[in-house]
Amino acid sequence: MSLFRQRYEEDLRLIGSPQAWVALALLALALVLAPLALPGFLVYNLTLFFIYSLVAVSLAILVGFTGQVSLGHAGFLAAGAYTAGYLSSIGWPFFAGLAAALVVCGLLGLLIGIPALRLEGPYLAIATLGFGLAIQQILNNWALVGASMGLLIDRPTLFGHTFWDDTSYYYLVLGLAALAIWMSFNLERSHLGRAMKAVRDADLAAQMSGVNLAYTKTLAFVLSAALTGVAGALFGPLIGYITPASFNLLLSVKFLLMVVIGGLGFIPGAIIGAAFITGLELWLAGLLAWSQFVLGLVVIALIMLEPLGIYGRWLKVRHWWKMWPL
């Protein structure tokens, strides 16, 4: 394969080179074999990382592609977790609850996405922040879902098998997360993904070229919220016990920081960011103050030194390597 792309199909291809196929196969193999080699708490945390990467990817679609900032994604996660959790407690099957979480969060995304059309910059940030806090408050006072006492959620049962142990639940989440992330990559290279990026870069020019601004922006909100709802439906059974207090502003902030640390506008960047923050919290488990302090310093350093994030730096290195000695 030549250094420069010559045909449009090459630009559209998800996996460009034989090396990339090999790398992907090795990654898949490593992820499948990981639970066999790792201790239990690492399997649990890897599952948590998959769920967080779903949220980070959904934020990459909203903030990275479309340029609409959200400080309320913990609210969508809570809505998804509570919807699926409540429905499973009244006897709905797992996938029905998952679908319901997707629909409920998609509708909530629509509810926020339509007023968000008129808002920009700080107004949108504060409106979404308010949404996240309002969801938390509403759940805190809603007796049906246990109010501030929270909700106990059982692991799901599929085809007679209950995912009680962390290893089997790991495979369930891995499969669903891989599917959702593959769909997100497909979204990025479709006409919708390009329309979203056009809206981010120059909304007027996009509109002049026939992109429906209102539709694209609202769709980004709906898709992002729905994907976060799915993540929530997987999050609840993993944790086993959810309270409104766990979906606080700090969690929303962390989700946003994941996308920025990894690299704003790149799906792999969002996943790297999720891995970074989950890993940091695992490393400094129990030392909340230290993990916040280190996270804050990392974010400051990254914004000052490499605004494109970890993945952006990697792209630069790779490009330099390919072009060497030019």
Binding site: R118, I126, L257, G296
Partner: protein, 291 residues
């Protein structure tokens, strides 16, 4: 006995804290276009300093106040010089993320240095109820409300009558034109950061006796301050004051007469409704986009 005066005074007291927070946020936003999420943590840090001075060093109230506010002034200048000025090529989102990171780092530092336990900050005046027109009114609330009004007047005078205020207003109005006319934009921004940090410290110092001092103390007032700022319009200082008082009063009235449980979430429903009708806040002006 009618409790309305009591409710209104505590509403005004909470409202003046919201208004002070919102003023600091708006002052910074209209000059530098930064939505400062580290505002609360700067205030908490200053309050911790004041607590140490009062309790461990045994300084008097007046001296503590002077030292704390000078410390806040210096913190604001340091933040601008070390973090914001070098990152001047950032997008608005990048600067927002920068303050988020700064807020997290300051929060972690506060927790590491001063501990996460609740500390009771002794109020300047004893918290005894005052009999006023047949209602029991908290003296501390009355003091907070009055002090807030005095400070806002001082800020208004600073912006209206001093050379510094004129420069700050010019930079807020149009940065390029101000630069072209020879106004020292960077000094104006430095001064804005300093004044905003002092406002953060004052708001936290006033709020601390009403609650308990701990690293997450300003989380709720900060989010309400954001709501107040957005309610009034992010580029309008009178709007921030109006938003703060409207929010504080309605919150207290709703909490007393309607539903106590929804007192806190009420603010966010209000802001969503207001933004639906007026996307740039009550007193804010829409920025005209020219192609």
């Amino acid at each position: 006995m009618d409790i309305l005066p009591q409710v209104l005074i505590s509403g005004a007291s909470v409202g003046s804290i919201y208004a002070l927070v919102a003023l600091g946020l708006v002052l910074l936003y209209r000059t530098t276009h930064i939505l400062n999420f580290a505002h609360g943590d700067i205030g908490v840090f200053a309050t911790f300093l004041a607590f140490v001075m009062l309790q461990s060093l045994g300084l008097s109230y007046g001296l503590t106040l002077v030292l704390t506010l000078s410390a806040a002034l210096i913190i604001g200048m340091v933040i601008y010089t070390l973090l914001v000025k070098p990152a001047k090529n950032q997008s608005h989102l990048g600067l927002l993320i920068l303050t988020l990171g700064l807020g997290l780092a300051l929060w972690g530092m506060n927790a590491l240095v001063f501990g996460t336990d609740n500390k009771a900050v002794p109020p300047i005046i004893p918290d005894r109820p005052l009999r006023l027109a047949g209602a029991a009114v908290s003296q501390l609330s009355l003091f907070t409300a009055l002090f807030g009004v005095v400070l806002m007047t001082v800020l208004w005078a600073l912006l209206r009558f001093t050379k510094l205020g004129l420069v700050m207003r010019a930079v807020a109005q149009n940065q390029e034109v101000a630069k072209a006319l020879g106004i020292p934009v960077r000094q104006a921004m430095l001064a804005t950061w300093a004044v905003a940090s002092v406002l953060a410290a004052v708001a936290a110092l006033l709020f601390a006796p009403l609650t308990l001092l701990q690293p997450a103390m300003m989380l709720d007032p900060l989010s309400k301050g954001f709501v107040a700022a957005v309610l009034g319009g992010m580029n309008s200082l009178p709007g921030a004051v109006l938003g703060g008082y409207v929010l504080g009063m309605t919150e207290m009235l709703v909490g007393t007469y309607l539903l106590l449980e929804f007192k806190a979430s009420f603010a966010f429903l209000v802001v969503l409704l207001v933004l639906l009708l007026r996307p740039h806040g009550l007193l804010g002006r829409a920025k005209v986009k020219r192609v």
